[in-house]
C-alpha cells in the first residue's frame, strides 16, 4: 500500500444466535487486513437485531467517521443498514448477505457484494439437479423472504417437475411432517434451504427416516462450522458453493493454512468471504485514496485481487461473476469436510443485472 489511510466499520453478529457466522466473517476479514497498517477497523456487535444495526451504522458514520462499512450477515439487517449508509456517501462491502432488492432496483454505486447474490447458490443447485438428471424434485424452505428467494432461485434453473413445494415455519426444528410428505410424494430428489439449526435438525431426521432419495442444498447447511453438528448424516450430500477448502489456487492455499495457523480451526465459507472482502479492500487502497470516491470506486470495481475462489469479477450491479461449484461432503480422517466434484454454473452472474440502472 502507498499510505492511503482508511477506516472500516464492521457491524456483525457476535453474540446470541447465529454469532458463529459473524465471528467467521470477522476472523477472515481481520486475517486479510492484519498486515496492513493503513486500515483501522472498528467492530461492533449487532446482536442480530436490525434496530441495533441501524443505530450502530449511525454511530460508525456520525461518530467514528468511517469510510467503509462491512460485516453484516443477515439480509434483513443489510436491508436496514445498507441503503442509508450508501446514501450518506459511504462504501458498503457485503461479506455475506445479498438480498435481491439491493441487486436490482435498489442497487447503488457504492454498494459491492463480495459474496454472492442470495439466489446464486440455489440457482446452481437447480442447475446441478438438471445435469444429474433429476426430474421430480421436492423443495422446501422457511417461510420468509430469503426462503422464498431460495426456492425462486432454484426454480429459475431447474427444468424438471416439482413433486412438492413447502414453506416451513421459521425456526422450526421438527420435520417429521415434511419428511412424511417427501416420502409420499414420489420425488426423485430433495432440495432444501434451511439455515442454521433448522438444517441440522432436518438432515439428522432425514437420515433417521431411512429415505434414500438424494438431497441437494446450498452450502450453508454443510459448511465447516456446522458439519460437525450434523455428523455422518451429511456424508455424501451434494451442496453448492462458490468456495471450497480444496479449491486449487495459490490464494486459497495460503488462506486455508494461514487461517488454521491463526485460529486453530478449519476456515468456513463465511471466513473466506470475510477474507476476500479484506483483500478486495486492500487492493483498492493500493490504487486510490478513499477520499477520491470515483477513483476508489473504480478500483473496487476492477476487483484486482487474487480471490480465494480463483476467477472473480464484478457484474455491472456490483455482484460477483464467479463459478459456483458442486461439493460433496466427505470424511478426511475423522473430520467431515467438503470436496469439489464439479462446476455447477460457470462464470455465473445474477438475475437482477437488468433491473439495476447502473
Amino acid at each position: 500500500a502507498d499510505g492511503h489511510k482508511l477506516k472500516v466499520g464492521m457491524i456483525t453478529t457476535l453474540s446470541g444466535g447465529g454469532s458463529g457466522l459473524g465471528i467467521d466473517v470477522r476472523d477472515g476479514f481481520m486475517l486479510a487486513v492484519r498486515s496492513s497498517k493503513d486500515i483501522e477497523v472498528v467492530i461492533e456487535d449487532d446482536q442480530r437485531k436490525p434496530d441495533i444495526a441501524v443505530q450502530l451504522a449511525d454511530k460508525m458514520i456520525q461518530s467514528e467517521k468511517v469510510d467503509v462499512l462491512t460485516g453484516i450477515i443477515w439480509s434483513n439487517l443489510a436491508m436496514a443498514v445498507v441503503p442509508a449508509a450508501v446514501n450518506q456517501g459511504k462504501f458498503y462491502l457485503s461479506p455475506n448477505a445479498g438480498p435481491s432488492a439491493l441487486a436490482g432496483k435498489g442497487c447503488h454505486e457504492n454498494y459491492f457484494n463480495v459474496a454472492w447474490q442470495n439466489d446464486n447458490l440455489h440457482e446452481a443447485a437447480g442447475g446441478h439437479a438438471n445435469s444429474t438428471g433429476f426430474k421430480n424434485t421436492f423443495i422446501l424452505a422457511p417461510n420468509y423472504p430469503a426462503g422464498k428467494d431460495a426456492l425462486t432461485g432454484f426454480k429459475r434453473y431447474f427444468k424438471g417437475n416439482l413433486a412438492g413445494e413447502i414453506y416451513t415455519k421459521l425456526g422450526q426444528t421438527d420435520y417429521a411432517v415434511e419428511i412424511a410428505q417427501i416420502r409420499a410424494s414420489n420425488a426423485d430428489s430433495v432440495f432444501f434451504f434451511l439455515p442454521g439449526g433448522m438444517g441440522i435438525g432436518f438432515m439428522k431426521q432425514y437420515a433417521q427416516s431411512g429415505i434414500e432419495i438424494p438431497v441437494v442444498g446450498p452450502a450453508f447447511s454443510f459448511d465447516q462450522g456446522i458439519l460437525k453438528a450434523v455428523g455422518d448424516a451429511a456424508l455424501g450430500v451434494k451442496n453448492t458453493s462458490q468456495w471450497s477448502k480444496d479449491l486449487d489456487n495459490k490464494a486459497n492455499k495460503k488462506f486455508v493454512s494461514d487461517f488454521q495457523n491463526e485460529y486453530g480451526r478449519l476456515p468456513s465459507l463465511y471466513a473466506s468471504q470475510g477474507y476476500d472482502t479484506g483483500r478486495l479492500l486492500i487492493s483498492a487502497m493500493a490504487k486510490a485514496s478513499v477520499n477520491d470516491m470515483e477513483a476508489f470506486r473504480d478500483a473496487l470495481r476492477s476487483a484486482d485481487f487474487d480471490s480465494t475462489r480463483g476467477q472473480f469479477r464484478f457484474s455491472s450491479n456490483h455482484h460477483p461473476i464467479q463459478n459456483i461449484y458442486v461439493r460433496e461432503v466427505i470424511k478426511e480422517g475423522d473430520t467431515l469436510t467438503n470436496k469439489i466434484v464439479s462446476v455447477g454454473l460457470k462464470d455465473h452472474s445474477n438475475a437482477y443485472v437488468d433491473q439495476c440502472s447502473m
Binding site: 446470541g16 465471528i23 426444528t173 442454521g196 439428522k204 433417521q208 431411512g210 460437525k228
Partner: protein
Amino acid sequence: MTAELLIEQFLNGLQFGFMLFLMSAGLTLIFGVMGLINLAHGSLYMIGAFSAAATFAFFNSFWLSLLASFSCAAIVGIIVEKTIIRKLYNRDHLDQVLVTFALILFFSELVRWIFGAFPLYLDVPELLNGSIEIFSGIYYSKYRLFIIFVGLIIAIFLFFLIGKTNLGIQIRAGQHDREMISALGVDISKLYTLLFGVGAALAGLAGALIGTIQSVEVGMGEPILILAFVIIVIGGIGSIKGAFIASLLVGVVDTLGRFLIPWVLQTVTNPSDAMSIGSAIGSMLIYILMAIILILKPTGLYGKQLS
C-alpha cells in the same frame, strides 16, 4: 392426498405431542405445581443438551450422555434454587419473570463462552437408528418411538408424584400458603429444592433426547420455552393430566394444520401462494388455539377456578 398419509400425519402429530410433553414436563413441575414462573426452563434444557454433547464427545456413549444430561441439569437446578430461586417464592410473578429472564441471558452467554458459537454433535445410538414398519406402508423412526416411550413413563411418574402422594399435596399446599404448611411440620424449602431439581433434571433430559434429533446450539431453549408455557396454560396450571392432553392437542393441531391448511387453500389459489399463506397461518396456529381455549375457558382445560 392418500388416507395413509393423513393417518401418518396424525400419528406424527401425536408423536410431536409426546415430544412437546417431554419438553414441558420439567416446567409442569416447576411452574404448574410449585407456581414459579421459570423462564430459565429453556436454559436447563440447553444445559442438558450441552452436557450430553460434551459427554458424547468424550465417551462416545449415548446412554452415558443421557445420564449426564439430567444429572448436570439437576445439579445446576439445585444450585440455582438454593442461591436465587428460593428467595422468589414469596415474590410476585413479575420478579420471577425478571430473574429467570436474567438467568436466560446468563446461561446462554456462559454456555457460548464455554462451548463456542457453533452447534455441537449428538446422534442417535445404533440401537435406535433407522425405522421400523408399524403398519403396512407406514414407517416409524425407532428413536421417535423411544421418545414416545420416555414421554409416557414421565407422564405416569409425574401423575403419581403429584396426584397420588402426600408429597404432591404438600407441594401444592405450599404453593398456596408456605408459612402455614411449614407451621404444620413440613420442611417446604427442602421439598421445593428437591422438586426444582427434579424439574431441572426433566428439562435437561428432554434437551438431550430432543437435541439428539434436532440441533444442540445456544438458544435452542428459547423456542421450546414458549411452547412449553403454551402447553401448560392450555392444559390448566397445576394439572399434569391437562399438560399431557394439551401436548397431544397442540401436537396434532400444529401438525395437521401445517399440513392441511395449505392443501385446503390450494383449492382457492395457486399452489405457491397457498403454501405461503398456509404456512403463515400454520405458524400462528398454536397461538390461535391457545387464545381460543383461554377465551372459552379462562383457566385452561383442566385448571381449577379458585373462588
